[in-house]
């Protein structure tokens, strides 16, 4: 009796997991399969579930219909820029907050913790006005600065908790060995490398996937990112080119799958803490 009960329980368990996996994988499969179907098969009634013939014409059209390469490049530049800016300023600030007391440090820290709770919509209009005045509209730098709104506090918060975990003994040994305070900081940075790696991956992803600020700041392919460019395709007067859109979406998502491996390894814990 117990055996059958156990068997039933286990089957239900795997069934539930299976349903969950299906719910996650099917839309993604649908995205990918649409991208490699010829348009005739995409817009067929009834829709074809399985891939009967595949073609790369959607991917080819992608580059004809929109400046995808340029968009992709823009996304990469902006994400890298946000990452570089955030890591350099953020990790330094995090170290300062972790190791030193000074008037205002506690306020600054509280500010960092609370900052993620303030809706980003509240920044949209002022950032637009500010960047218009500074001629940053439609520039990479403009988007990078806007992204700093969420990138910088996150990095500071994450890295501070990392630094708090590293025993001061290493830096003290370095000081006694003759390092300046600055040089001793680099000892700590070296020890915090896993934290920096985690922060780097998460920051890059957040900037890569971001839409709202890109919508507001970019105007032309000079700085438009892929998410925005894809959405523009939705606003065409005629039939939405789903083949092209899914192809572009898939290409845009490939780096994320690559990161997925690293995320699984190092980041899973920090990810949960980070949000």
């Amino acid at each position: 009796m117990i055996r059958t009960k156990k068997f039933i329980n286990e089957t239900l368990l795997y069934l539930a997991v299976g349903v969950a996996l299906f719910s996650v994988l099917f839309p993604l499969y649908w995205l990918f399969s649409t991208s490699i179907k010829p348009p005739s098969k995409i817009f067929s009634i009834p829709p074809r579930l399985l891939i009967e013939e595949f073609t790369l014409e959607n991917y080819q059209r992608l580059f004809e219909v929109m400046p995808f390469l340029r968009n992709f490049l823009n996304s990469a530049i902006i994400a890298s820029g946000a990452l570089a800016l955030g890591l350099s300023l953020g990790s330094m600030a995090a170290y300062g907050l972790s190791r030193y007391q000074f008037p205002g440090s506690r306020y600054f820290l509280s500010f960092i913790v609370i900052s993620r709770m303030i809706t980003y919509v509240a920044f949209v209009i002022p950032i637009f006005l500010l960047e218009t005045n500074l001629n940053l509209i439609d520039t990479h730098l403009g988007v990078i600065l806007a992204h700093s709104i969420f990138v910088l506090p996150f990095i500071i918060w994450l890295m501070k908790s990392f630094f708090d975990e590293i025993p001061k003994a290493y830096e003290e040994a370095a000081l006694v060995d003759g390092c300046s305070r600055f040089r001793a900081m680099f000892v700590a940075m070296r020890l915090a490398l896993p934290g920096l790696g985690t922060a780097a991956i998460l920051t890059f992803l957040d900037s890569w996937n971001e839409f709202m600020f890109a919508l507001i700041i970019t105007r032309t392919d000079a700085s438009q990112t892929v998410p925005y460019a894809l959405v523009l395709q939705l606003q065409r007067p005629y039939q939405v080119p789903w083949g092209v859109l899914t192809a572009g979406s898939f290409l845009f998502t490939i780096p994320i799958f690559a990161f997925g491996y690293f995320i699984q390894k190092y980041v899973a814990k920090a990810f949960v803490l980070g949000r």
């Binding site: 995205l31 440090s105 709770m117 809706t119 500071i156």
Partner: protein
């Protein structure tokens, strides 16, 4: 002697300040200044189409919004969305986390797969769902029609559209809940379950008296964060799937604030809407905090 000692202490603090200064300056420029300016805007009338000068009008924007029918609808939408999607995320996330807590083969792979929706760009997830919801060629329509004979207008029926948005958003965010709760579950020492077992607790009792209380802290924090995010940060999904329509049926506060401010170019009104969103969210969070303390 005393002065040079005081100076030495300052040297330590100075180094700390030096480290923090660049980040602080950047944040002052892109975060603090815009936020304060936004509050100022919300207290002004300033339209750009047609252009009019910026003038101080106090709380008039706030009053106007609350008496505006569209705003009321939008506010209701945001509340409705939050009230439905957050519990959904929680239950799904908790269920999955509990499932994964058991011994399952290939757990790591499964978790990685289940985590995918939150890793892809919200825009792309929204595009995927929009394609699924398509009336003519969408797979969902085909499936439901074939097996149930119904063809709901996922995107154009005002009564259904919000659910379309909710489903897509839950698809994106439930994995996040799952990961957080899973991590929380991992932290519960097995001895607690064993002690309960020895005491004779059933599975349900163990869930109620061991699992839930141990998760309480994590749950509260996750609840606060997700409620805030659902109410104040829902943008990409709505923009892509329905654009706020049909007829404001899915318009939420963040998208509305953007529309009013940067599409209709009523800057003061737009700013006020964003601040109202902020304040209501703050009230909700405090309420959750109070409620959790009470227990």
């Amino acid at each position: 002697m005393r002065t040079s000692y005081g100076w030495h202490l300052k040297k330590e603090a100075m180094f700390g300040i030096l480290l923090v200064m660049p980040a602080f300056i950047l944040l002052a420029i892109v975060y603090i200044y815009p936020l304060v300016y936004n509050i100022d805007l919300s207290l002004s009338r300033w339209n750009l189409a047609p252009p009019s000068p910026k003038e101080f009008i106090g709380l008039k924007n706030y009053v106007d919004q609350f008496s505006d029918e569209t705003f009321q609808k939008v506010l209701y939408n945001s509340l409705f969305f939050t009230g439905v999607s957050v519990p959904c995320e929680f239950f799904l996330g908790l269920a999955l986390a509990l499932l994964l807590n058991k011994n399952i083969k290939g757990k790591n792979v499964i978790i990685t797969i289940l985590a995918l929706p939150m890793m892809i760009a919200p825009v792309i997830a929204a595009l995927t769902w929009r394609w699924i919801y398509d009336y003519n060629f969408g797979i969902l329509d085909f499936f439901l029609n074939q097996f149930f004979g119904i063809r709901p207008l996922w995107l154009s029926d005002p009564n259904i559209a919000m659910y379309s948005v909710i489903i897509a958003d839950v698809w994106i965010t439930a994995p996040f809940m799952m990961l957080i709760l899973y991590a929380g579950l991992q932290m519960i020492p097995t001895e607690r379950y064993e002690a309960a077992k020895v005491d004779g607790a059933s599975s349900w009792q163990m869930f109620r008296y061991v699992t839930l209380p141990s998760l309480k802290g994590v749950l509260i924090v996750a609840l606060m964060v997700r409620t805030n995010d659902a109410f104040t940060k829902l943008f990409d999904v709505v923009y892509v799937i329905t654009g706020g329509g049909p007829a404001y049926a899915t318009e939420v506060l963040p998208t509305y604030a953007y529309k009013v401010g940067l599409v209709f170019f009523r800057l003061g009104a737009g700013a006020a809407i964003s601040i109202i969103t902020l304040l209501i969210a703050a009230v909700m969070i405090v309420a959750i905090l109070r409620a959790s303390r009470g227990r």
